[in-house]
């Protein structure tokens, strides 16, 4: 929805491009809106810049996006910034309704897959050997393949040790899929001190 509808008073001054050209802010927001809504992948600032007829600073674009996000504050969808850019998503509380239309839920991953993912996410880059050492069991090739084909994990090189094992790291796609901007937004690891306290553990389980 464009700003005229949301805020008829239009408290937003026309953005002045570096060259001094006036930008039709309402129109640009409409274009951003249409582009973001039709793209399943998040759009980066540099992509959004291409949508403007006059060159715009990143800060201007972010300002517009924040206004656009605010316009959707009371709607069923929301505009978020994630690792690789900006994107619209349905609010999680809408999920139960949307699932009525297609009750097929995607599967949940097994503990083996999730533990492997956690080790890669928190200890990256790691080799398969590193993962096996932490988990205390062999990590099957299928587990890694599952994570790779989901686009959550990728091999980013090899470690310079005998056998040249592949080093795994997480991808931007993982962060996007979890609606996060950076790895630092992952849940914090439990403090070792807390793990020594049996009482805390009981709650956590």
């Amino acid at each position: 929805m464009s700003e005229q509808v949301a805020s008829p008073s239009n408290d937003l001054p026309a953005v002045t491009a570096p060259e001094g050209v006036l930008v039709d802010v309402a129109q640009l927001k409409r274009i951003f809106e249409a582009a973001l809504m039709t793209s399943l992948e998040p759009l980066s600032l540099s992509e959004l810049k291409k949508l403007s007829d006059v060159p715009l600073e990143s800060s201007r674009i972010e300002e517009l996006l924040q206004q656009l996000a605010a316009e959707y504050a009371d709607s069923g969808i929301e505009l978020n910034r994630v690792a690789s850019g900006w994107r619209f998503r349905a609010r999680p509380e809408m999920q139960a309704y949307i699932e009525r239309l297609d009750p097929q839920k995607p599967p949940r991953y097994s503990r083996a897959v999730m533990e492997t993912l956690a080790i890669i996410a928190y200890r990256q880059p790691v080799t398969r050997g590193d993962i096996e050492e932490i988990r205390g069991v062999v990590v099957s090739a299928q587990v890694l393949k599952t994570l790779e084909s989901r686009g959550w994990v990728e091999s980013i090189g090899t470690r310079d040790t005998p056998g040249k094992p592949a080093l795994y790291a997480t991808t931007q796609q993982l962060l996007d899929d979890l609606n996060l901007r950076s790895l630092s937004e992952l849940p914090a690891l439990e403090e070792m001190g807390n793990l020594l306290e049996p009482a805390v553990q009981q709650d956590a389980n």
Partner: protein, 267 residues
């Protein structure tokens, strides 16, 4: 216990408090035991379970007690002839070694007792694994695109060249895998390589018989493909007949066999 663990264990057992107490005075049906075994991600996971279950102090693990309980499990699993991953046996050896080292009198070294503790490495591994195990649970609790929320995708009609989605074998694999894991699909639809080639032949035959006329049986076989190909084609014909998609007729004994689609109307 984590959700995953709880749910893998038959309900009757979890509600009646711990099913993993002392194996000696506990009956676990052999089928259930297999599930119990699958529940643990490995020896570290099993050890952690025992430690947390019995509220043992991680900083001062009572090796005798822990080793004894761990061994009871290993024995129980072996007694039921469950195939035990090598890691479990290796861990048993490690535990026994630590226990025996602790029995030996240690030369008194002032201030260095902690470093010398034979349990230190085990403790470090247990804590590191536990930390990751918890992290995995938290990661899994985060809302995931497609599972817990949907992405907005509004139609756009493109005037220029229409860009079609590209699909890889991998995408197809994932889609099928997703289906397999749902409901009873797994039990009913086993997919093997051979079966796929049969399916492929079934499709080929139906295409060939599209005209609706009788076709001599021999014409359905492609001799260039060798014996495996002939067998697969034959199985495909039987499968089509079973699914009543084709009719097979033979007017006289030892006469020619003809095949046609069963009153298959063509669009």
């Amino acid at each position: 216990m984590s959700q995953a663990e709880l749910q893998l264990i038959p309900r009757a057992l979890i509600h009646g408090e711990p099913l993993l107490e002392m194996p000696s005075d506990l009956y676990i049906p052999p089928d259930a035991l297999e599930l119990v075994l699958e529940t643990f991600q490995g020896p570290l996971d099993l050890l952690l379970y025992l430690i947390r279950k019995h509220n043992l102090d991680v900083l001062d693990i009572p090796m005798a007690q822990l080793t004894q309980q761990y061994m009871s499990y290993i024995e129980l699993m072996q007694r039921n002839r469950l195939e035990l991953a090598a890691e479990y046996l290796l861990m048993a050896a490690v535990l026994i070694e630590i226990k025996s080292r602790m029995l030996l009198p240690r030369p008194p070294k002032l201030g260095e007792t902690e470093i010398d503790d034979p349990r230190a490495e085990l403790m470090r591994r247990l804590l590191e694994y536990e930390q990751m195990k918890l992290a995995a649970q938290r990661l899994n609790d985060l809302p995931q695109a497609g599972r817990d929320f949907e992405l907005v995708q509004v139609l756009i009609e493109r005037t220029v060249i229409e860009r079609l989605p590209s699909v890889s074998v991998e995408d197809l694999r994932i889609a099928w895998m997703t289906l397999l894991t749902r409901a009873k699909v797994n039990a009913h639809h086993k997919v093997r390589r051979e079966e796929l080639s049969v399916r492929e032949q079934m499709t080929r035959l139906l295409r060939q018989l599209r005209h609706g006329e009788f076709e001599p049986f021999e014409n359905l076989f492609d001799h260039a493909g060798g014996i495996p190909q002939l067998v697969v084609t034959f199985i495909a014909i039987l499968e089509l007949a079973k699914e009543t998609l084709i009719e097979i007729t033979q007017t006289e004994t030892l006469g020619n066999i003809y095949v046609r689609t069963s009153r298959l109307t063509l669009e």
